[in-house]
């Protein structure tokens, strides 16, 4: 029976707490008496018959929608869009959720005799997926059946012929999505909801969109008014996407949304103890931890990165629902909350967290300092509903090695952003005003996005905007154990140990500030009252 999450008040007998530290782990003692640690709920049970559950969902849709077989007929244009490499994190064991769902959908399509099927990786302005990554996501059978004939491909937001402008919302937001998807008789979207931000209208309105559409909600103002973007009812990001969804619906795009949730069983044996509470580690767990952390200290970073990026997580489907977009998303969100929600009372002065080695934008890649900022101030800071875990003017302390290293193929525009833009200013409003357009329209970045495996030129800006709410809210950010030059370039303060960091934090919040530690893995969503 999986136990729910809870808040632990740290006292003198609390053992040191586990912190993620990039490709490694640390055990750190937190000061007793003024610290609380939020533990996530244990992973919920996976579905026992996932293929059966998928089939059931397709035949029993939610909301105003016919079952999928009724929507399929010979001679129609069917497009199946699926979430890209940024989900799930870490990568799943074969078979991937998308493979199960897509094979089930294609089975029904074959039964109906549908020939014209296109499969699109809905990656918006992320990088294209390689062959190996596509094979992992949709499986060898689907890949070999569709990719050689060019019917399985990556979305290209910069293809002038490949995008269709469908209209504008009442607030003037242009809605432009992939032409094939817009002109299909049916668009089936296969989604994975890892956190409450994903899914709903955001799947199509963002995943298949272009810069022209995205800039209306991927900007500083929207992110500052999304408190938080994990809570769709208080998120300007979601309101904008929902408005765009209405335009999509009104312009005749027929979407059959299939959303899945995963449980948070993140690490395979023998590292599953990392998700256990520290006082429940047995002798074998402790031995494994000591052996692994000592070994990792001696491992060169490149090798450590390869080891970690090749971890295949045992997380499994915990729910699947299909049908009309909003009805489906309501149930999906309930399921995400069921797995991740933890009730927390009140805010504190200081929030601490260990940052893992992976975020949605460095799968099979390097986590550069900008991504560290996005993961900490963007994703982890915003894992709340209600109020942030840390008070306004408080301090955020993150633990990550923050190497001054960039992947030259995946993140070329990030290097320039870090060297040129951040050297000038770290204020998101200034950055947006002075630099975004030149990066977004740079021909070289466009070329790399379309033909290489690079994130779009404007993508580092979005990473910075993701943390705009946190930058406005916090009084200071300290990075423990990071490369000092890189941390300073980000505008944060470097500290060597957690104690030093807490000392530095006391300059901002006063002595004896209260501390909350967000324990991960696995992830949680704090419901702060």
């Amino acid at each position: 029976m999986p136990r729910p999450g809870f808040v632990l008040e740290v006292d003198r007998s609390t053992p040191p707490i586990l912190f993620h530290h990039g490709e490694g782990f640390r055990l750190t003692r937190l000061p007793p008496g003024r610290t609380r640690v939020i533990y996530p709920p244990e992973p919920v049970a996976a579905l026992r018959d996932p293929d059966g559950a998928v089939r059931h969902a397709l035949l029993n849709p939610l909301g105003d929608s016919d079952p999928l077989p009724a929507l399929l007929r010979p001679g129609m244009k069917l497009t199946i869009a699926f979430d890209d490499i940024s989900l799930p994190l870490p990568q799943m064991r074969a078979p991937d959720v998308r493979q199960r769902v897509i094979e089930a959908v294609l089975d029904l399509a074959a039964d109906a005799g549908v020939d014209d099927v296109h499969l699109i990786a809905a990656l918006a302005l992320h990088r294209r997926m390689t062959e190996a990554e596509l094979r992992h996501a949709v499986g060898d059978r689907v890949y070999d059946a569709f990719a050689p004939s060019g019917r399985l491909y990556n979305h290209d937001a910069e293809d002038p012929e490949g995008m269709a402008l469908l209209g504008t919302t009442e607030q003037g937001e242009e809605v432009e999505i992939n032409r094939r998807a817009a002109e299909s008789d049916l668009l089936v979207y296969v989604n994975i909801n890892l956190v409450a931000m994903d899914g709903g209208w955001k799947s199509t309105a963002t995943g298949l969109a272009s810069y022209r559409s995205l800039r209306h909600h991927h900007n500083v103002r929207t992110m500052r008014h999304s408190r938080s973007f994990m809570d769709q009812h208080h998120s300007e990001l979601h309101s904008s996407n929902w408005r765009m969804g209405k335009v999509l619906r009104d312009s005749g795009v027929r979407i059959f949304q299939i959303e899945t949730t995963l449980n948070t069983d993140t690490f395979p044996k023998p590292f599953d103890f990392l998700m256990k509470r520290e006082w429940e580690w047995g002798a074998r767990d402790r031995a494994t931890f000591v052996a692994t952390s000592k070994a990792l200290e001696r491992t060169p970073p490149r090798l450590a990165r390869q080891i970690f990026q090749s971890i295949r997580s045992p997380h499994a489907m915990s729910s699947v629902q299909a049908g009309e977009v909003q009805a489906v998303h309501r149930v999906t969100t309930e399921n995400v909350y069921r797995q991740q929600l933890v009730a927390v009372e009140g805010q504190t002065d200081i929030l601490t967290m260990g940052l893992p080695y992976i975020c949605p934008y460095n799968v099979n890649s390097i986590m550069n300092p900008i991504l560290v900022m996005c993961l900490g101030l963007g994703y982890f800071f915003n894992l709340y509903r209600g109020r942030p875990l840390v008070r306004e003017g408080g301090v955020l302390i993150m633990s990550h090695p923050t190497p001054w290293e960039f992947h030259p193929v995946h993140h070329p525009s990030y290097i320039d952003f870090f060297e040129q833009v951040l050297a000038d200013t770290t204020d998101p409003v200034e950055i947006e005003k002075r630099y975004e357009t030149s990066f977004a329209e740079d021909e070289w970045y466009r070329h790399l996005y379309r033909t290489s495996y690079a994130y779009h030129g404007v993508h580092p800006f979005y990473m910075w905007y993701w943390g705009a709410h946190a930058l406005e809210h916090l009084g200071g950010v300290i990075v423990v154990g990071g490369n000092a030059r890189a941390v300073r370039r980000l505008g944060f303060k470097p500290a060597s140990t957690m104690n030093d960091a807490l000392e530095m934090a006391s300059d901002v919040v006063g002595a004896d500030g209260s501390i909350t530690h967000l324990h991960n893995p696995p992830i949680l969503l704090a419901d702060v009252t």
Binding site: D49, P50, D51, Q91, R93, A94, P95, Q99, L106, D107, A110, D111, G113, D115, V117, T130, E131, A132, E133, R135, H136, G139, D140, R141, V142, D144, A145, F146, P148, Q309, S310, V363, N364, V409, S452, Y453
Partner: protein
Amino acid sequence: MRLAARLGFPYSAPSTPGGVEPVAAPKRTGVDYHSAWARRFPARWSRVVLLESVMRPAMRVLANPDRVGLDRLADLAARKQPVIFAANHNSHIDTPLVLTSLPEPWRHHTFVGAAADYFFRTRMTGAVASLTLNAVPIERTKVSRRSAHHAAALIDEGWSMLIFPEGGRSPDGWGQPFRGGAAYLSLRCGVPVVPVHIGGSGRVLAKGKRAPARAATTVTFGAPLVPGGDEDSRRFGARLERAVAALADEAATDWYSARLRAHHGTTPVLGGPATTSWRRAWARGDHRRPRGSARRRSGPTWPDLT
């Protein structure tokens, strides 16, 4: 022998005196061969070693098998229950090919149903088959209760089974009609059947050939089949045969077009065209799928932009 003969009884066999009825020696060949010793530990260990260090590399050199569809078995593997693998049969290397392709937890917990009249003709050949392949005698001329009971008992104990429903190797490369053994056992023991298609093994060592030749082969695993509530052995067996035919189609072309054909009942039949022998041999040539780009990818690779 000669020495034993010269030395006489007890070094050599006794002769029966006249006027006495000789006792019939219990028949220990064919379907009466006792192969239980091969499933005890010393034999099992040596078979594990044989499979991993001899058979596996030999298959890689000789047949270079492309193992496809293992992800369909992921859910079944999690449940750790015995399973019946039903494959088409073209060559003697089919058994080692499938045995070395099985994933855990079935890899070293599988017995093979082997023809009693061929593999267990003498006690020697029976011992070799039991030891190396964990073979169990199955009668193919008449379905007697005995081999079925024996197989069912083993499955109940937790052993998985590899069976070739055609009953024997195909003489010309096209499939023969499936017999009912696999379906019957599945219904009786309540275990799923995994259809397996082996492609290309006929080119390695066809029936009647002495020496093997190197060729590329494919082992395709299909989705597990569970008999429906009201399905009897015959209908289930027909479904199994169609599944293997669909796998053959999938291996020859691609998954989606095979599915399209399967749904419309136009899957090419395993038995081949109903024509004369040379035209059948001619038509068989079309079934060879050209080996395209490597299908094996293990793990992510850094994109190479040079």
